[in-house]
Every structure is written in structure tokens, then in C-alpha cells.
Amino acid sequence: MMFKYVILSLLFILPSFALNGYVDGREVDKYQYILDSLWVSISIVFIFLMHAGGFSMLEAGFVRAKNATNIIMKNIFTISISAVAFWLIGFGLMFGNGNDFIGLTGFMQIRENINLFNSLSSYSPPLFLVFIFHLLFASTAATIMSGTVAERIKFPVYMISVFVITGLIYPTIGKWIWGGGWLQKLGFLDFAGGVMVHLNGAIIALIGAYLLGPRIGKYDKYGKPRPILGHSMTLAALGTFILWTGWFGFNGGSTLSADVDLIGKIFLNNTLAAAGGSISSLFVSWYLFKKADLTLSMNGTLAGLVSITPGCAYVVPEAALFIGTIAGIIMVLGVIYLDKIKIDDPVGAVAVHGLGGIWGTLMLGVFHSTEGIITGSFHFFFVELLGIIVCIAWTGITSFFMFYLLNRFIGLRVHEEEEIVGLDIAEHGTESYPNFSIKSY
């Protein structure tokens, strides 16, 4: 009998012998570990493309030719400096051990030592990959504002603010929501960053645009908005397409594991929400303005994607289509409204990421397949609402403070003459298109 048990126990030891191993001190299923990590690695590449190629091209397309070099310079710098800031400070603040409000370990120590980051203990992939994944999210939150404050913010001011955002503002609320902090403990859910990335970014953008004021020429002497057309619809479209593509990695990769059933669901929700947002915004602009506005339809695609970001893993496809479709409509109305109240946002980021983020998070409260209002409970909805309010308050106040100080000590805005001649010449000494005849008025 004992003999039998020996054999049986061997039978159960065997697979762990064959399949398991130790990673960062944790025992893991070897193949699952590789699969999870590969999926995250690949998602990182998609998200990087989205960030680097997508946002830059979109924003470049929406500004005037005389500021294209400047907006690209900002995007390169955002990616680069946020890597440093998040490595030095941000990641520790967000995932380090500490209390419910702040992480206090792991600064500059993104090594194999997982013990500094208890909040990450349930993550499968190795720490390096988790770091880069979250870095790209932080960096995306920061880059969202770059389009909104474009064509008039001073480059050094922008540089400092990106450092502060990715090093301090974002990681702190990140601790609360994703780092095991108090909001997370209350049950707040934000699957891929509807609040964390998009609403955060939009609030910073809004505060920045408010304090900067509109671009010269954006309002006529009677205060009526005058459009300042983006210089290249094809570039803006390229950016949109890359973002659309990368979003599969952004939302799909937020599984942080090769849970392919969930990935499938997310992909479908993504696809339908984006489709809904593109179509609804197209028709709304067509109805309101008699002609189908491409830039609003592109914004609509993104609004659809933003709105499904918090809930993509939790809602059914029909809900995703609904959420994205309405997001497209809300976004168009938001763009018109912001224009009216003199928030000059060249790329529409506040409406896309802000309204899309709020709407999507609320709808997660409604449509969550087990906890949403639809299944009978209101508790979760209010937790979601609380998260939104907390984000607006925290990020609103801190970024106001940040821009306020920058304004005092450096001044936010370039000189009027620099704005007229364009930041490309003024700050970078070059034209973006030296061989082309550019209209001078």
C-alpha cells in the first residue's frame, strides 16, 4: 500500500517538476508564466507604438504646420523623461510597500526583488515587464495634455510638468487605485485606466488649457470661436489608426496574463465600442453641421475606445456597443461646449479622454455583469462615482498647484511673437516642412 502511495505521490510531484519553476521567489507554472510574460511583452510593444507613433502623429496633425516640430519634440521628451521619473520615484510611490495612501519602497530598485512590491505579488510576469507596462500607462496619462496645451506652452514648463506628473501626481493616485490603496480596497474597479490614464490626463489638460488661455486668433473680437485647422488630416488619421490598433494592447494587455478568453472578450468589446463611437460622432456632426467632420469622427473612435477602457473586461459586447456609441455623442457635444467656454483644446483631448473616461466608468457601474446596477446593486456604482470624484479632486488640485507655481516662476506661455511665428522656429530653429510653400496667414 505504501508502495502505491509512493507512486501516486510521484504522479503528483511529477507535473510540478516538469512544469513549474521559481520566478522572483514565487513558485509558478512555467508555461503559464512564459505565456503571461510574452503576452505582456507584446502588449508593451503595441502600447509603445500607440504612444510614440499614435499620439505624436495625431497631435502633430491637429496643430498648425508651424508647431509640428515642437509637438513631436514634446512627445519624444515625454516618453524619455517619464521613463526616468517613473524609475526614480513613480513606481515606488505607486507599488512600493507603505500604507493605503503611498508607497515608500522600491525607488530606483526595479530589480528582481519582488518583496519591495507586495501589491504586485499576484502579477505573473517578471517585475521588469510590469514596470515597463505601468510606465507606459503613466507616460500616456502625461502625454494626453500635450495636445491640449499645444502651440503656446513653453517647452521648459512642459518638461517640468511631465516629470511631476509621472513622478508624483499619477503614481500617488495610482497607489490608491491600482497599488493596493484605499480606493482599490473599497472595490473601485478601473480595468485599463479609464480613470487612471484617461481622466487623469484630461484633468491635467483641462487645468493647463484653462490657465494658459486660448491660442491667439482662436476667438474673434466678439468672443466667437474661430477654428484653427489642423495642418494635416492624413497625419491625424495615421495617429488615430495607430492608437486604434495599439488599444488592443492597452486594454488586452491589462489582463497582465495570457487569459485568452478574457482577451477575446476585450478585443470584441474594444472593436464594437470604437465602431459605435466613430459612427455616432460621424452622424452627429453630420446632423449638426451638415457635413461629416472627419476630425470629430476620429475623436469619436477614440472616445469609444476610452469609454470601454475601464470596463472592457467586465461588460457584455452589447453593452460595449452602447457605451461607445453614446460616448461618441457626448464627446461631440463636449467639444462644442468647451469651445464655447473658451477652453481651447486643439486636439479635443479633454472631451475625448475626460468625458469618455467619466462616462465609461459610470457605465461600468451600470453594466458590470455581476455588480452593476443592471444586476440590482447600487453600491458598486457609487464606488465608481467616488473614484471619479476623487480623481478630479486630486489631480485637479495638484495639477492646478503645479501649473500655478510654474506660472509664477517661469511663466506658462511663450511670448506673443513666438506664438505668431510658430514654436518650431522660435524654440527649435527649424521649419517642419522647409521645402513646402506654407501659407503665411
Binding site: 466667437k224 470661436p225 474661430r226 477654428p227 485647422l229 456632426s285 449638426l288 453641421f289 451638415k290 457635413k291 467632420d293 476630425t295 470629430l296 461631440v332 467639444v335 462644442i336 469651445d339 479635443g348
Partner: protein, 112 residues
């Protein structure tokens, strides 16, 4: 000698050029310009905000000719460029004191 300056609708360029070569005019200089006149522009919306495109694309054709050819040239341009709708453009005739061909240094009618 005269400088004939014609403002025309852009898509008429080929016809005007053909009309001029048909009457033996082989030299001209063309410039992209924007015209403002009786032909009204149009109002468009970009992201919900109105703007007016009131400068319309036109082409300016400059042709230096001998005095004797002025009427023939004006006639040819008018025929080729006319659509009958507002905005067809104008022809201005300005005096020229002298013309020089850079390559040869020829002057006056010779140089045209």
C-alpha cells in the same frame, strides 16, 4: 509693349494656354493667387466653429506682348477663360517700358 495680366479660374489654364499658343504666343508666366471679388466664398464648419473661405484660388497669367498683339491676346483669353459665371476673372493691361532677354541681352520687342 504691354504686360497683359489675366486673373482666371484655375481649371481654365490649359484652355487659355492652348488658345494663346494657337495665336502664336509662346511665353507666359503663371502665379498661384487668391482672389477676392464678387464671387462669394463659402462658409464651412470645423469642429463646430464657423469659418469663411473668402479667398478663392485663382491663377494669374502674365504675358508681355507687342502693342499690336494686345487685342488678339485679350480676345483669346476671354474666349478661353469665360464660363459666364461670376468669378471668371479680369484682364489688366499695363504699360511696359522695356524688356530684356537675360540670355542674350536683346531688348524691346526682340526680347519677348
Amino acid at each position: 509693349m504691354k504686360m497683359i495680366v489675366a486673373i482666371i479660374k484655375p481649371f481654365k489654364l490649359d484652355e487659355v494656354k492652348d488658345a494663346l499658343t494657337n495665336i502664336g504666343i509662346y511665353g507666359m508666366t503663371v502665379t498661384e493667387v487668391k482672389g477676392f471679388g464678387r464671387q462669394k466664398g463659402h462658409t464651412e464648419l470645423y469642429r463646430g466653429a464657423e469659418y469663411v473661405i473668402d479667398f478663392l484660388p485663382k491663377l494669374k497669367i502674365e504675358i508681355a506682348v507687342d502693342d499690336t498683339q494686345v487685342e488678339k491676346v485679350v480676345e483669346a483669353i476671354m474666349q478661353a477663360a469665360r464660363t459666364g459665371r461670376i468669378g471668371d476673372g479680369k484682364i489688366f493691361i499695363l504699360p511696359i517700358d522695356d524688356v530684356i532677354r537675360i540670355r542674350t541681352g536683346e531688348r524691346g520687342s526682340e526680347a519677348i
